[in-house]
Amino acid sequence: MHARTLSKPVPQVGAILLLSLAASCSTNLGSGSGSRSGSPATGVTAPGTPSANPDLVPGAPVVTPPGAMQIPVTPPNGPARGVLRRLTNAEYRSTVQDLLALGALPADPLQLESRSDGYNNFSDALTVSPTLGGQYAALAKRVAQEIPDPTALAPCAPGSAPTDCALSFVSDFGKRAFRRPLTNAEAQAAVALFDGELPRADYAAGIRLIVQAFLQSPYLLYRFELGTPVGPTRLLSPFEVATELSYMLTGSAPDAELLAAAQADSLSPTLVEVQARRLLATPRARESLLSLMQQWLHLQGIKSLSKDPEVYPELTPELWSAMAEETTRFVNAVVWDGDGSLRTLMISQDSFMNATLAQHYGLPVANLGADFTPQQVPLAERAGLLTQASVMAVHANPDESNPIVRGKFVRERLLCQPLLPPPPNLMIQPLKPDPTRTARERFLAHSNNPACAGCHRLIDPLGLGLESYDGIGRFRSMENGKPVDVTGNFASTRDIDGPFVGGVAMAQKLAASTEAADCFALQAMQWTFGRSTLGSDTDRALAASITTKLAPAGVNVRELLVEIAKSDAFNQRSAQP
């Protein structure tokens, strides 16, 4: 059953290895050429939509990505298959906290999520390992034991049969825990736990045991997106849709109003919009969107990063925190308090700084303290998310900038053109550090090498355009005593091919690109659906239809999330297993 998945081709759009490039790159280059260390990629895939790339080989064999041993969640065409999505640790904690109206949860550890393509919520990477299972059990037990008064949670009037009281509690509590009404058999199974406990202990202990059971029940741990067959597809139930929507926009289980809407069968794709807009107005939507933005931009671990202390002694934990905080405040200000447009995210000069960050940016620090205040970044130096110190510092080496890592980031994360690993037995040589040359001079050598140029012309000219930002995101106009040349070039894109000069111009080009807008939609869909979208024609078509619809008024991030929630991809699954 697993073997057949490998013979199944990966979608054409996602992973076409350029045969001509593979051939040229597999040449043994010997010494003195090759890519800088830190560059994993020299192959490239076709862009998702037709482009004038002469290197594309129509009908070239497709390549299966590593790790695709399972039946892929996402087929090349048509809806994704139905899945069980284990909650992320943050989702689990919020869910338990909401369920029991707790101010805080014990900080007992939960095993870290495995990431897939940078996201921590891909359904095929999230399982319940023995360690995590044990941690759920321990946490559930502790939370249940710490409930101050179970009889307040599950009242039982004098004279009532305890089993009846337990059943009443199970029906109500269970519906919120399972995010749907319990079947009779399910309710009875929970009551049986209670009944078994009574001879051993008292009523309160029985209620605690029910809570303990629900907090580690697979019906709570997994978000069900299985659906029921309707014609050629499976339609998610109203409760499944309510759950999907709630975790997307609030990071937790549906609230009472959303559950009521599901109960009333009022969550058709058109009616889901009403609930989506309501949830978008809650404070939790801000946190949810930040998790998308941070994972999209590789910023989730930024506060624990470190660099070579000899090269960057000024890089303190406070500075890392300030960089992260700028991005957080900027995203919040644009998406929730500003015009909400993707364009503004990409090119705005408005930002937030404290003294630490302003100093890092070479700006006057007078009147600035530890608190963040609205500030403008210099027009000639920075624009939007791309050029923020956080993004530039994360995409760099421990001791210097890394144009290839940055070029790969732009190609993969901002244009959604995933890069294949280099072909077999390619001698990948590093570039010697050279205090007399700029990075461009060093990189030009291998970009000019015909064996490498085919691949690296797609990566290097993007990263070299960002050479104004050093390894910790500081702006610079000189490197090793020479002026920094920041001319760059887009190639093999849908609509922004051509030269540009510097990060600001690059950001402006990306802001004008429909391919980049589609890419953001695809990334938001990856995060929403918990699966890869880059290899699916159906997903790419949905992304394009959403951005096309929103384009006249400018692609608005909030509206984009609403459109995703209204889509077939959100509400339907494949009839295939």
Binding site: M1, R200, S306, P418, Q429, P433
Partner: protein, 458 residues
Amino acid sequence: MMSKHFLKRRSLIHQLGAAAFLAAPVFRSVFAEAQVMSPRRLIIITFPGGLADDAKGLPDLSFTGTLAPLAPLQSDIIRIMETSRPSATGEGHSGGMRTLITGGRSAPDSIDQLVAQQIGSATRFSSLQLGVFTDAGEGMEGLFQSLMARRIAYSNGLPLTPDQDPKALFTRLFGSAAPSPAPLPAPTAGTPPPADTQALAAYQRDKSLLDYLTAQLGAIKSIAGTGEQAKLDQHLTALREMEKGLMSPSMPGAPATMTGGSGTPPLPVMPGAGCTPPTLSDAADLPKVGADMNQLAYQAINCDLTRVLTFQWMSSGDQIQRFPWLGINSNHHHGLEHGSMDPDDPSVKVDFTKCQTWFMEQIGVLLQALKNTPDGASNLLDSSAVLVSTDMTFGDHQMEPHVAFTVGKAGGAFRPGRDYFGDGKAHNNLLLTMAKAMGVNLTSIGDPGLSTGAFDLS
């Protein structure tokens, strides 16, 4: 000759009473086997990113080079030379690991899991997966370098998440540090009533809970598609492990320590040391976490908690982790891997060698500790089949010649202290060899056509 495990267990069992002992399958199997011979153990240890090359352009497997820390164990080692890795052709840093351990691009199960399926029921844990900072570079890997392919163990097509948090693994192996009522075995017909009714109630409560959860997973399996079955099976495995835990007494004894000074590897001395929960460093940096995991791995074997253990040191291609305790600050491991291949600038190769030698020191700590521990007529290393390997040959994605060596005698299946030449045969056969040493005879593993038969290392 009875092993010390048996003696340890026997005194435990004595405390619990014979009836309790007979009801606990874990002990029974230990009892039966201890009378005959020491059990064999499969231990697979990986380090990231291959080796630097030697003067001949081959991976430096000399005991004066990268393997110098293992020189004292030279007589326990078989260097596996001249094997190939057809299944890994074209893979990068991540795919190198999956093909290493499964022998293929499409193989659903890794060799350790195939072995555990056969022999795992004899111990408290059918297998364990340990990792040290394997996810440090998380997030930067990109679609085609997913962590899904970087894991060291796979079952039914799904990677198994390694334990990377020493405290969490400690809890899993030895139970909560907090005092808890003594767990009791399942009451069976004809057994005398347990003295401690409170403990019995706790057992019954936990058992009913696990039955409840197991039944739910069964119901979900019947409605979920085929693509979700492996995930649900992993969850069921977790529940089964907890159920086994209800019937195993937690480990007695005072904590023992084997930690060395700050920044130095722990001293490999514990001859005759008992089965005791280790004292953890409670630190978060890689060297200390690694030392903690070494201790946990050692005790997991020493206490016979498992006989199948994988231990992954980092993932290659990591673009985050530096090595400040070795004075290496300007490169992460990925930079070192690629930089080591620059013939014009030997400085990075020096750093890379330093780094890989450090990994060998850590691996040597565990191996030496096993060797120093008596087991039956011999020691724990002699009864173990250890495979040490890496995801690629050189850091620039070269996959051949395969870098691997075995350690230990595998209870007599291996005759170490020499080199074995694989004549270009696929490394899949080395995986078959490891399984065979464990008494698990497989005819093939991994991609079709690559398995020609286990190597004769005897």
